[in-house]
C-alpha cells in the first residue's frame, strides 16, 4: 500500500516536471517570436489597406490610424456593446483584431479616404470578408477580399489573384451605376458574374453597395467632418 502511494507520488511529480518543461519551452519560443509575429500582422494589414486605398493622396500610415466604426452590425461585423467616445489604445487594438475597425487616410490632417471592412454571409460557402477603400466623394478606390471560402476555380474569381473582376468597382459610387443597377448582370445590373458562379459575385456586389451606403450614412463620423482631427469621433 505504502509502496503504491509512493509510486503515485513519484509519477505525479515526474509528470509535473515534464509538463513544466513543455510549458517553459513554448513560453520561451512565444516570447522570442511575439514581436516578429506582430510585425508580420501589421505588414499584412498595411499591405491590404494600401491596396484598397491605391490612388488616394495621403501622407499618414492608415494602419496606425484605426477608428471604431459606428453601428458595425450594418457592415455585418457583429454588434458592439457600446461606443466609447474616446476609445483607449487597448480598445482600438481589440477592435482591429475583431475586424470592427476602419482606417483613415489623411492628407494634411484632412481625412481623404477610409478603408472599412464589410462581411457578407450571402456567399456560396461561409462568410466573405472584404476591405473597401472609399474616398471623401464616396467613390470606390479599391476592393479586396480578405477572407473567403468560395468554390476554387469558380467563385474564388472574386479574389484579385484569380481574376481582375474585383477591379470593376474602381471609380464606382452610389449613383454610378444607379441604385437599381448595383447588381450582377443576371439580376439586371451592370456587374459581370462568372460562368457557373453567380452567387459569389452577387454577394460581393451587394456587400460593396452596403459599404458605400454605410459611408454615406456615417460620412460625418468616418471623414471626421466636424473638423477637429485630434479628437477621434468627437462629432458623434
Amino acid at each position: 500500500m505504502r509502496l503504491e502511494a509512493r509510486q503515485i507520488i513519484i509519477t505525479t511529480v515526474l509528470l509535473a516536471v515534464f509538463f513544466g518543461l513543455g510549458v517553459g519551452f513554448v513560453a520561451y519560443t512565444h516570447q522570442k517570436t511575439a514581436e516578429q509575429i506582430e510585425l508580420n500582422r501589421q505588414a499584412v494589414l498595411l499591405g491590404q489597406i494600401m491596396e484598397v486605398l491605391a490612388g488616394a493622396d495621403y501622407d499618414n500610415n492608415p494602419a496606425e490610424a484605426p477608428f471604431l466604426l459606428p453601428r458595425p452590425a450594418a457592415l455585418g461585423l457583429g454588434e458592439r456593446a457600446e461606443m466609447p467616445a474616446e476609445p483607449s489604445p487597448a480598445e482600438l487594438e481589440q477592435a482591429v483584431d475583431a475586424g470592427q475597425a476602419g482606417f483613415r487616410a489623411r492628407r494634411d490632417d484632412d481625412v481623404v479616404a477610409v478603408a472599412i471592412p464589410v462581411v457578407t454571409s450571402r456567399g456560396y460557402s461561409g462568410d466573405i470578408r472584404l476591405l473597401v477603400g472609399v474616398d471623401a466623394a464616396g467613390e470606390v478606390l479599391g476592393v479586396r477580399v480578405l477572407q473567403q471560402n468560395e468554390t476554387p476555380g469558380l467563385g474564388d474569381k472574386i479574389t484579385a489573384d484569380r481574376s481582375d473582376w474585383i477591379l470593376d468597382f474602381l471609380g464606382r459610387r452610389l449613383g454610378d451605376p444607379p441604385a437599381e443597377e448595383w447588381k450582377v448582370k443576371k439580376d439586371g445590373g451592370v456587374f459581370d458574374q462568372f460562368t457557373g458562379a453567380t452567387v459569389s459575385p452577387r454577394a460581393v456586389v451587394g456587400a460593396v453597395r452596403d459599404a458605400l451606403e454605410y459611408v454615406r450614412r456615417h460620412h460625418g463620423i468616418l471623414f471626421d467632418d466636424a473638423g477637429e482631427s485630434t479628437t477621434e469621433e468627437g462629432a458623434s
Binding site: 509538463f19 513554448v26 508580420n40 499584412v44
Partner: protein, 233 residues
C-alpha cells in the same frame, strides 16, 4: 531489443510501410492541404520537423517516463513541439502560415506522430528514433507533395504557383503554367479529387509491388531451372 538496420528503416518509411500509402495515417491534412504543391510542401516540412523532434524527445526521455503516464507525456511533447513550430512559422513564413491555417495546430492530431512515438521512439535509441522520424516524415511528405502536384496540375493547370510564400521573393517566378486554364479539371481541387488522387497513388504502389513480386518469383523459378539446363548443356 536489437538495433534495426538503417537501410531497413529507410525502406520501411519511404516505401514498404509508407505512412500515407500503406498505414493510411494522417489523411485529414493529407487530403485537405494537397490542393497545391506549395501548400503540400509547407505542411510536409512542418510534419517532418514535428516527427523528427517528437521522436527524438520521446526517445531521449523514454527511461524516465513511467509506462502508466507515457501517453499523456507523449501528447504533451507533441503538442509543445507543434506549438513551437507554429509560432516559428507565424514569425518567419507568415503568408504560408496564413494559407495552411488550422492545419498546423492540427498536426498534433496527426496519428503518424503518436504512432511513431509509441511504436518506435519509446523503444529505440535516440539516433535511430530521429532517423525513423526523418524517413517516416519523408515518406509522408513525398506522397503529400506528389498528390499536391497532381492536383495542382490537373485542377489549376499550374505547378509551384505561390512558391514565394515558402521560399521568399526569389521564388516569385517559379510557378509555371502546365495546362491552359480552359483545359483544367476542377474536380481535382475539390475533396473528391483528393480521395481519387490518393486512391490512384495507392493503386500505383500496389501495381509496382506486385510486378516486383512476380518478377522475383520468375527469377526464383529460373534459378531452380538453371542446374537442369546446365546439366543438359
Amino acid at each position: 531489443m536489437s538495433d534495426p538496420r538503417l537501410s531497413d528503416l529507410a525502406l520501411d518509411g519511404l516505401w514498404k510501410n509508407n505512412p500515407a500509402l500503406v498505414q493510411v495515417l494522417g489523411l485529414c491534412p493529407l487530403l485537405a492541404i494537397s490542393n497545391t504543391t506549395v501548400n503540400a510542401l509547407g505542411l510536409a516540412i512542418a510534419t517532418l520537423v514535428t516527427l523528427v523532434v517528437a521522436n527524438g524527445v520521446v526517445s531521449a526521455i523514454r527511461d524516465w517516463v513511467r509506462p502508466e503516464v507515457r501517453l499523456p507525456v507523449y501528447v504533451m511533447v507533441i503538442a509543445s513541439v507543434v506549438t513551437i513550430i507554429e509560432l516559428v512559422m507565424n514569425a518567419h513564413f507568415h503568408s504560408l502560415y496564413n494559407t495552411l491555417g488550422i492545419f498546423i495546430p492540427l498536426i498534433v492530431t496527426n496519428c503518424i506522430i503518436i504512432a511513431r512515438a509509441e511504436g518506435f521512439a519509446s523503444r529505440h535509441g535516440f539516433g535511430f528514433s530521429v532517423f525513423d522520424g526523418f524517413v517516416m516524415g519523408m515518406g509522408f511528405g513525398l506522397v503529400l507533395v506528389v498528390l499536391g502536384a497532381m492536383r495542382e496540375v490537373i485542377g489549376s493547370g499550374t505547378l509551384l504557383a505561390g512558391a514565394d510564400q515558402l521560399f521568399g521573393p526569389v521564388a516569385m517566378e517559379w510557378g509555371i503554367r502546365v495546362l491552359p486554364e480552359q483545359a483544367t479539371f476542377l474536380l481535382a481541387l475539390m475533396p473528391p479529387g483528393a480521395f481519387i488522387g490518393l486512391g490512384l497513388l495507392v493503386a500505383f504502389k500496389q501495381a509496382i509491388d506486385q510486378r516486383a513480386a512476380r518478377r522475383a518469383r520468375a527469377l526464383r523459378a529460373a534459378d531452380s531451372d538453371e542446374p537442369v539446363a546446365q546439366a543438359a548443356g
